[in-house]
């Protein structure tokens, strides 16, 4: 009972956050909606007995990604009039919802058809040790690749975002 109500609450927050993202006119509001959604997802991770993911989600996504987005949103500093005017936003959203609905339905139906249910898990499930254990044995190669990826992304971001070098000599 408690579980279900917590789940319901978290789900509600998630939906509110998502709706804020796509409906808001202000960019900042979308960013905040994003934050709310990420936190709600962290909560859902916790509900799934996955303590490590709960932590990782908060630290990385809510902590780094959202903060980074907010930084960029504020530093770009667009005036009110430079924001894109979206006169037909409502129509677009309705039409896209109609188009997306069958796809969503398809995914949901296929997921449902698995007919699974939660079973008891071992005590160490979702903890730091177990994840680390799997990470550094079976998944060490993807781990290394991801680290290279992060390096590359860092370099790329720096190159893309720097100001043009003017040759003023």
């Amino acid at each position: 009972m408690l579980e279900n109500s917590i789940f319901a609450l978290l789900a509600l927050f998630l939906m509110i956050g998502a709706m804020m993202v796509i409906w808001s006119r202000e960019t900042i509001l979308s960013a905040f909606g994003f934050l709310v959604a990420m936190l709600a997802i962290a909560g859902l991770f916790a509900l799934l007995d996955n303590s490590f993911l709960f932590l990782a989600q908060i630290m990385v996504t809510a902590g780094a990604v959202v903060v980074l987005s907010l930084m960029v949103v504020t530093s770009i500093n667009l005036k009110e009039e430079n924001l894109p005017k979206e006169p037909y936003k409502f129509r677009w959203i309705v039409v896209s919802s109609i188009l997306v609905a069958p796809f969503g339905l398809l995914i949901y139906r296929s997921l449902i058809s698995l007919h699974k249910s939660f079973a008891e898990v071992s005590s160490g499930y979702g903890g730091l040790e177990m994840v680390g254990d799997r990470l550094f044995t079976d998944w060490v190669l993807p781990f290394e690749i991801v680290s290279v990826l992060l390096l590359a992304a860092m370099l790329a971001a720096i190159v893309i975002a720097r100001k043009e070098i003017r040759d003023d000599s």
Binding site: L14, A18, V21, S69
Partner: protein, 104 residues
Amino acid sequence: MTPEPLFAISTLLFCIGLVGIISRRNLFVTYISIELMLSAVNLLLATFSRLHGDSAGSVMVLLMIAVIAAEAALFLAIIIQLARSKKSIDSDEFSQLQQPRESL
């Protein structure tokens, strides 16, 4: 607790993200919608990990989160560059790849 609501939630989140990409012109909203879609996938992965009792799903989510972070950096860098050049973050502004207008 049954997995069905979780499936529903993640599917719904994914669809909302999809709608956000298609319908909004603001590049930030597009970016955040992409993040939403990825998070929905994360949620699904975590659910399945719990269903099977296998931590491999959790490892995948961790790696995905790392990738999300990298992608965030790049995407935002691009937005900064675009905003610098055109002073606008309207995705309809950047339509240089369009078919040139020719008369019949």
